[in-house]
Symmetry: C2
Subunit: 211 residues, 2 copies
């Protein structure tokens, strides 16, 4: 491969950071864990090796920043979509539908998340991001499920646990699908989640998940 000479181009630090993060996500999606490399990311961003270390003292901080950006974007999309619902049940349907959207349900994304998860245990930064965004997801689900429970006149129960379960179902289906997209269709996946919400609304989980 012939490396065409790069043109010198200077942009604002803020834009450069976004640029580097975007290149990082592309690189991770393409190369998985092998994409965690200053040189590969520099090539993907069409930028010199040294520039990355100029903006990020260590590569872990770049990955961490990319994690925060991706998580934030997904969280925004999910919250925004569900907030547009006309009632609690509709909001949950929108949350589910958005979760199975093409931006999230992409086999290449698994390689990205796998890198993130592998760093959560050893990096306090990554753990903090993970905690924050997960709490965000679940709080949203908890809110909608709580409203739905009230609307249906369900007795008091552990809504938090219910939100955890629905989130786990979504994550589990996502993971399963990424590992083998031919396993089930998007419509089936949505149906499984909608069925869970139906059961919740019917009070089927009241007994097992007591407050």
């Amino acid at each position: 491969m012939v490396t065409t000479p790069r043109k010198f181009s200077r942009i604002q630090p803020k834009l450069r950071r976004e640029h580097l993060v975007a290149a990082t996500l592309r690189c991770l999606a393409e190369n998985g864990h092998a994409g965690v490399s200053v040189r590969k990311i520099a090539a993907a961003a069409d930028v010199s090796i040294g520039l990355i270390n100029h903006y990020y003292p260590s590569i872990d901080q770049l990955i961490s920043h990319a994690y925060e950006t991706l998580s934030g974007g997904i969280a925004d999309g999910l919250l925004q979509a569900s907030e547009a619902g006309t009632d609690p049940r509709d909001s949950l349907s929108r949350f589910i539908a958005e979760s199975f959207g093409p931006a999230i349900l992409d086999p290449k994304m698994l390689g990205v998340w796998v890198v993130f998860w592998s760093m959560v245990r050893h990096s306090a930064d990554m753990a903090a991001v993970q905690q924050r965004t997960y709490d965000q997801y679940r709080a949203a689900l908890e809110r909608h499920l709580g409203a739905l429970a009230e609307q249906k006149g369900l007795p008091a129960m552990n809504i938090r646990a219910a939100a955890t379960a629905l989130n786990a179902l979504l994550d589990g289906l996502w993971l399963t699908w990424c590992l083998n997209p031919a396993d089930f269709s998007v419509e089936e996946g949505v149906a499984m989640c909608e069925g869970w919400v139906d059961a919740f609304a019917a009070g089927l989980f009241v007994e097992r998940l007591k407050a």
Copy 2:
């Protein structure tokens, strides 16, 4: 760390392979992705660097073998546990309880699986193992769910999809818990899954998951 001189010891190839696989799993659990290293695994197995390449032409094949061993062991445990059930509902409860056992629900195991998943996309061997063991899990769930549906006199439905959903719920809870063990207790996790089976037995998913 002072490396004490190693004693020369020769064992049968079969035993040596098991030994190396065990050391590999220990190494991955301890070091995550950084544990994918001939030198680290050799140290963990108290064995020379060259011996590993003697048994496994490339390190990927060692990891693949370790994957197969771990998956097989877990599958055996789950199938054996659920097979001991007195009726379909009991079998499912045993399957669930076993899934939340200490051997599976271990935060360190996340680091191991993360390595495996990261290789599934690029290695045909890994993909084959993934496919085979996943089909095994789901077939077992499908069998028990089918028997339960018949027992309850449920109308015809997509049992395969139901098994996929329950499996996803189990996987999702496992993943969530590994990323943050303080998030919910084992008892809560079991209750979420039992609640799902309750809803299934009550026919709540019949409408959404048609045959």
